[in-house]
Amino acid sequence: MKRLVILGAGTAGTMLANRLASMPEMDDWRITVVDATREHYYQPGFLLLPFGVYSKDDVVRPKRYYLPAGAELIFAEVDHIRPDQKSVVLMDGRNVAYDVLVIATGSHIHPEETPGLMEHEWHKSIHTFYDFEGAVALAKALRQFKEGRLVLNVAEMPIKCPVAPLEFVFLADWYFTHRGLRDRIEIVYATPLPGAFTKPKATEMLGNMLAERGIQVVPEFNVMEVDPDARILRSYDEQEIEYDVLVSIPVHMGAEAIARSEMGDELNFVPTDRHTLLAKHYDDIFVLGDATDLPASKAGSVAHFEVDAFMENFRRYLDGLELLPLFDGHSNCFIETGYGKGVLIDFNYDVEPLPGMFPLPGIGPMPLLTESRVNHWGKLLFHWMYWNVLLKGRELPIPAQMSMAGKRL
């Protein structure tokens, strides 16, 4: 029996395991999933936890429930990969042999990379919503915050879900307005990017929305250190930003097992072919989800479109055919903007987010790059779809490749 091993049972790894398990060609393959932890987090929910929108049960569920019954599940930490021996060495000394390996080990925050961040003020006046504990601590801090300066800082790109910092400041504006405190609270968004977002049309539209809501943007701010006692953020070029509450999106890195395997770049992301998703220099290792170094968003929608592209190519792989350049960098994000509204953007490697209608050209129902109530409901519905449709590997009526139909240039 041949062996396919998936490292990581997060969004990408779980979707993939389910899709492979229902594939007839895989009947004579054994599928193994390796992961160190037992809880699956609905990460988009971390954005809403601080504002009291979700509870713990909405965002945390056992990984086991979402993985296919036929797959072998190993809960253990990976020490390193031995591509020359086609095997994975676990921390407990076990070896897992593979014929095909899929790396889906994701990305994780590293607040310790920024001096001052994760010291005595961590979870007190310095917060993050990029993990569960952080989001819960921040919910408490926001409830108690009555007056002063709330600063959101992105430490370094890339981060998971590059629109999340924008959503956070939009939701903070809505949250404090709703509580009658907005005129006593300043909201500042400090980012290493040259503007609100990375692509021109969306940056312009979102930049205008930030200005309308009185949210101050500090672009090209590359944080060097935080002074937790003076409550100051300091950049490499010696700009300073004062805060009362700091919400940090810390440096992101790939898994340490990737570094131990000497297979990653400076941030432990695995060099990956942009279109076939094969790890560069290997013909039996694929990389999916946040673990790649692709110039695409680190987001669940990207992982989903990558799994679609992988599945089509993997049939060819099994037949010994050449892989096709099927992945186009497709990304699709809901941006919560508060007040019961949202914006939807759809883009890929080459085409920036454009206005239009989605998914049906001219009909929608969701308008692109425009604020609407439908998009907000889309985002809430997505929570249900994530647990019940996406993770289980059921098909969505959205093609893997981005479509220009319905978009206006």
Binding site: M157, P162, N222, Y236, D237, P295, A296
Partner: protein, 104 residues
């Protein structure tokens, strides 16, 4: 793509001021691009520029700031002093390469 030219040397630049064709690059072009940025190139600048060009030859793309810091041995803080406001992007431009990724 809109293009302009670097006046004194007649080299095509893209809308963001990067060389359209990296093969056009010469040290004189680097000097001229640096002057546009208000930078006088010293030996320490050249150390970084040469590192970035070598990295590009090996990897096919310009390095991110973290890659420069980690592999060239020039600390981040100094990079900001040498190439103020976005060193990775500035060095890439002066070294005649495209815009570094990491902006998604």
């Amino acid at each position: 793509m809109t293009t302009k030219t670097l006046a004194e040397l007649n080299v095509a630049l893209d809308a963001e001021g990067f060389l359209v064709n990296p093969d056009d690059w010469t040290p004189e072009i680097a000097e001229a691009l640096a002057r546009e940025e208000g930078i006088d190139l010293t030996d320490r600048h050249w150390e970084v520029i040469n590192f970035v060009r070598k990295y590009y030859e090996e990897h096919g793309e310009p390095p991110t700031l973290r890659a420069i810091t980690k592999r060239s041995g020039v600390p981040t803080k100094e990079l900001y002093q040498l190439f103020p406001k976005g060193p990775a992007k500035k060095v890439a431009r002066i070294a005649g390469l495209g815009k570094p990724k990491g902006c998604i």
